[in-house]
């Protein structure tokens, strides 16, 4: 019986080592993705890093339960997105303060930056008006050079659904952003 238990324990340790290596590889390839997803919601670098870090910690805790490991990125994206939304709900006040502060300093980097700041602010404001489903598809299609098939895989949606969501998202943004038309 001792031999059996010993063999079981060594098997468990081997499985753990494999899991560790696999998780490390996933972390390396997906860290920027998680950060950018969080950033697209929070638009604050440190907050986005905190949220992405938390997402990785949670992913690590549940990694051994993930049956389809190739779905890790999709899983991580959804997890990060949810955590970022939660964080943003909790940080509404701070966001308002920061926005007010940004509006008070429009000329900090010269007239060109005024234009860039304005455009950026308007763009994010328009993105924020989008429903979650459209916003997520738009953000994922705009980061890391994802094509439609990759976005569909990340969202676990049919390609046609992703196409229509992107079409709707773009149309709504263009309706709101006159300078982009």
């Amino acid at each position: 019986m001792h031999e059996l238990v010993g063999r079981l324990a060594s098997d468990v340790v081997d499985v753990d080592r494999d899991l560790e290596r696999e998780f490390e590889a996933r972390l390396t390839e997906s860290s920027t993705l998680a950060f950018r997803v969080a950033y697209s919601v929070l638009r604050h670098r440190e907050d986005a890093e905190d949220v992405a870090q938390e997402a990785f910690a949670r992913a690590y805790r549940a990694f051994h339960q993930l049956r389809e490991r190739e779905r890790f990125r999709a899983w991580l994206v959804r997890l990060t997105w949810r955590l970022a939304l939660d964080r943003r709900r909790g940080d509404r006040r701070r966001e308002a303060r920061e926005l007010a502060h940004a509006e008070l300093q429009p000329f900090a980097n010269g007239p060109e930056s005024v234009d860039a700041n304005y455009r950026s602010r308007e763009l994010w404001r328009a993105i924020d008006t989008l429903p979650d489903k459209l916003r997520m598809a738009l953000v994922l299609a705009s980061i890391e050079g994802h094509d439609l098939a990759e976005v569909a895989a990340l969202l676990r949606l049919p390609l046609g659904t992703v196409k229509s969501r992107l079409f709707l998202a773009r149309r709504r943004l263009k309706e709101q952003l006159e300078w982009i038309r």
């Binding site: 019986m1 059996l4 238990v5 079981l8 324990a9 468990v12 340790v13 499985v15 753990d16 998780f23 972390l27 390396t28 860290s31 920027t32 950060f35 950018r36 950033y39 697209s40 670098r45 986005a48 890093e49 992405a52 870090q53 990785f56 910690a57 690590y60 805790r61 051994h64 455009r119 950026s120 763009l123 994010w124 738009l138 953000v139 705009s142 980061i143 773009r170 943004l173 263009k174 952003l177 982009i180």
Partner: protein, 173 residues
Amino acid sequence: MDPLDRELAEALNVDPSPAFVARVRARVASERPPARWRMSSGLAAAAAFVAVVGVTLWVTRVDRTPDAQGALGVMTGAPLHVQSPREMPQLASDESQLATTRRRRGLSEGLTAVGEQEGLRRLADLAREGRVVLTFEADTGDDVPAPIEDIVVAPILVEPLALASNSTEGDAQ
């Protein structure tokens, strides 16, 4: 490239700080439990089941072993059979066998104190060598209950009831 796509790509082209990945690794490492506790729940349940079955089998086997029953008798305070020097070698060998069995099976030494056991062992050794003769005298102490005498039950005498005559009974009615 569509102007909107360009604006979106620019807006989202933000990289984390260089220390970000290192911080994530540190955080993940802090989540990592010690290796010996990192078992999946299924394996942990299987190991627990194997352990329970093993202990049950072991306990069952100990209970059915005759010398273990003897050991239990000694531990529960059953009277020790020490009668005469001729019987002592047998007793001593029984005791040593019992102690060996206990050690082999990891049993505790019972309810008697270690000093008492050692004393008994020495006494048994001395008796076996003939330096001490163990005899049992009839105990005549005051705390010995008096012999039970015959119980005498006095005879119970029941006198016959006086019966009334028929004529008297009819008058009364």
